[in-house]
């Protein structure tokens, strides 16, 4: 294991009114609450979470730019809590890329080697290698302000990589790129990861980044790790409604358990007044609130009431049709309930599904995943 975090806590003080200070109260925001994490050597680890969930603080703690209140950071088995950032050999690509505007591209890339006291000839050689690797030939003499977004991003990556760090931290490095440069930048990151084998921790709020890049994903929410696992695990077994909705897995419903019959193996849930049959789940009582996931690809669409073994059939009004490649995402609402279904373009056309018209939406009990 290359990097290990052990119950890291970090809070930031908030401006506190004098009256509260006198009473001994201090306002603070808890950015990290007891975060423990292990990242393997050479792994591409993506931390996914909404803005303000503590992702950047996590990276700052690893880089040594922020000191944690509690817990320890281990790199290659050694505790590095006491090391300042310049002695950790952990490089970081910042969200704003943080290129030095008063230096040329070459000076930016060679900066770290100079600071480390690497001999000029050796530094030059390393910089040349990285410049070739990232396709920055010909830009060496330019200043950062004259570069395009993608070029800046590559220079920032080169500057971090030339240090041959033990861990490379990336703080939403693609957030300022247009979609096309984004996808080529992702490819480049994968290539760099393959070629150098460097351990990467990549922080983002874009689940697409996680889907494309990650070996393992951590979903973060309000300073805690909601779920950590491979992409497959997260997609197939989301542990909470937050994970399911953040990974855009589909319809997340929440309702009260109405009937819980162990003998017949039936559990009925009341969602906004509609009864939905979910797979029998042990250890729950009637009256409890339960969340479950219905994936849009499991919802069957029909214009007339379908003859199906699916127990759940709802008649809803189509509110939106959106094209997603070869598929169409149909959202329909019934009462306060909104259900999304995925269908092929051909079948939507064949059934002549239009916005404002009623459709039947059916899904099998067995296709429902209980999220707890």
């Amino acid at each position: 294991m290359s990097l290990r975090l052990e119950s890291i806590c970090k809070s930031y003080p908030l401006p506190t009114p004098l009256s509260s200070l006198l009473r001994g109260e201090r306002r603070a925001v808890q950015a990290l609450r007891d975060v423990s994490l292990g990242v393997d050597e050479g792994e591409f680890f993506v931390v996914l979470g909404p803005t303000g969930c503590g992702k950047t603080t996590l990276l700052n703690v690893i880089a040594g730019l922020t000191r944690q209140d509690n817990g320890h950071v281990f790199l290659d088995g050694k505790c590095i809590d006491h090391l300042p950032p310049e002695k950790r050999n952990v490089s970081m690509v910042f969200q704003d890329l943080a290129l030095f505007p008063h230096m040329t591209v070459l000076e930016n890339i060679i900066y770290g080697l100079k600071m480390r006291g690497v001999r000029a000839s050796e530094a030059k050689k390393k910089v040349n290698e990285i410049v070739m690797e990232l396709g920055l030939e010909g830009l060496e003499g330019r200043t950062p302000s004259s570069l395009s977004g993608g070029e800046k991003q590559r220079v920032s990556l080169a500057r971090a990589l030339v240090m041959e760090p033990r861990v490379l931290l990336l703080d939403e490095p693609l957030s300022n790129l247009d979609p096309q440069s984004k996808s080529s930048a992702r490819e480049l990151l994968l290539k760099v990861h393959r070629d150098t084998g460097v351990t990467m921790i990549y922080v983002t709020h874009d689940q697409l980044d996680a889907r494309v890049l990650a070996d393992r994903v951590a979903i973060m929410r309000e300073g805690t790790m909601e779920q950590v696992g491979s992409l497959k695990e997260l997609m197939e077994h989301p542990r909470s409604p937050f994970v399911a909705s953040f990974m855009s897995l589909g319809n997340v419903f929440s309702g009260q358990v109405e009937l819980h019959d162990g003998e017949n193996g039936v559990t009925l849930v009341n969602v906004e007044g509609y009864r939905i049959s979910i797979p029998y789940t042990p250890n729950i009582q009637a009256g409890r609130t339960i969340n479950f996931l219905v994936r849009p690809e499991d919802v069957i669409l029909a214009k007339t009431k379908p003859k199906t073994s699916a127990r759940n059939v709802l008649k809803a009004t189509v509110v939106e049709k959106s094209f997603q490649g070869p598929l169409v995402r149909v959202s329909a609402s019934i009462g306060g309930l909104r259900i999304e279904a995925l269908a092929t373009r051909a079948s939507v056309e064949y059934m002549n599904i239009k916005e404002g018209e009623d459709v039947y939406m059916a899904f099998k009990t067995s296709s429902i995943q209980v999220l707890g």
Partner: protein
């Protein structure tokens, strides 16, 4: 469609608008009446003594009417040949210029050594009372310099605890040239510190953090990232500070002993000359001050723009 070429861009004449014209009229008239007119008159009067001394025609007339032709011609001779070049060679004035340059130079060096760290701390560190300290630092800019003089005399004057101790050690501050340096530093350093705080705050913190992760120690980060990126503002603020110290009068006159050649600055020279002999004798000192300050500001502007 072909994108427009550079020289195809419409010029001012093409779309006449009242707004830029009125802005130009207002701005230029301010420049002319507030700055050019008084300073121009100062320079003109150094070239034409009769303008500066309105008593001269009256005196000449008196001499004529009283029949004292000898005095009349002597007076005429003095003013016909401009006495200004001679005034510039006045020993007292040259000494005052020297004292002014040395004291303002010293206070700007002191300000650089201590004001720069202060500005950095106020810009970068978050601690309770930070905003109050930032305001405190700016206070001397709006405070009458006379108040600064009083405060310094109260702190370091001969009959105060600190002052008498310094006197025993032989390091009197007030009423010596050291007092002038102190007064100038007090009054002028906010110009540098304020500008330095703003320049430091303009350097994105992420650049400093990036440099840290790239193996630079805090000192190296300051030298290689923070300082070069804030250099413009620092130099500009430093020049303003220096010029302000050079022109400092109110506090200086209170804490200096006004011994020519020792604690007699150009500004106090203007004042004493004015009291001793009216406007005319002080013109030379005023011109000297104007020329030196303008030259320094112009040089700094040139350096900074480049």
């Amino acid at each position: 469609m072909k994108p427009p070429e550079k020289n195809e861009v419409k010029h001012f004449r093409g779309n006449f608008s009242l707004f830029p014209v009125s802005m130009a009229v207002l701005g230029l008239s301010f420049l002319v009446f507030m700055f050019l007119a008084p300073l121009g008159t100062l320079i003109y009067s150094s070239l034409n003594p009769l303008y500066a001394d309105p008593a001269v025609p009256q005196r000449l007339y008196d001499f004529l009417s009283s029949g004292d032709f000898e005095a009349f011609f002597a007076e005429l001779q003095v003013y016909a040949g401009n006495p200004m070049p001679a005034a510039f060679q006045d020993e007292v004035l040259l000494d005052a210029l020297r004292v002014s340059l040395i004291t303002s130079g010293a206070s700007s060096i002191i300000c650089m050594c201590f004001g720069l760290p202060l500005a950095y701390v106020l810009a970068r560190c978050d601690f309770p009372g930070r905003h109050m300290f930032k305001t405190l630092v700016e206070l001397p800019m709006v405070l009458p310099p006379v108040v600064a003089g009083i405060s310094l005399i109260l702190l370091l004057g001969p009959n105060t605890p600190l002052g008498s101790f310094l006197e025993q050690v032989g390091w009197e501050l007030v009423f010596t040239w050291r007092g002038i340096i102190l007064a100038q530093t007090f009054v002028a350093s906010p110009f540098f510190i304020r500008s330095a705080i703003m320049s430091f705050e303009e350097v994105p913190v992420s650049l400093e953090l990036a440099a840290r992760t790239l193996g630079a120690s805090p000192l190296k980060v300051f030298r290689s990232v923070t300082l070069p990126l804030s250099a413009r503002g620092l130099v500009a603020g430093w020049a303003m500070m220096w010029a302000r110290a050079m022109g400092e009068f109110g506090a200086t006159i209170m804490v200096s002993s006004n011994v020519p050649g020792q604690s007699y600055t150009l500004t106090t020279a203007i004042y004493w000359k004015f009291w001793a002999g009216g406007v005319y004798p002080s013109i030379a000192a005023a011109i000297m001050l104007l020329a030196v300050s303008f030259a320094v500001l112009l040089t700094v502007r040139f350096l900074v723009e480049r």
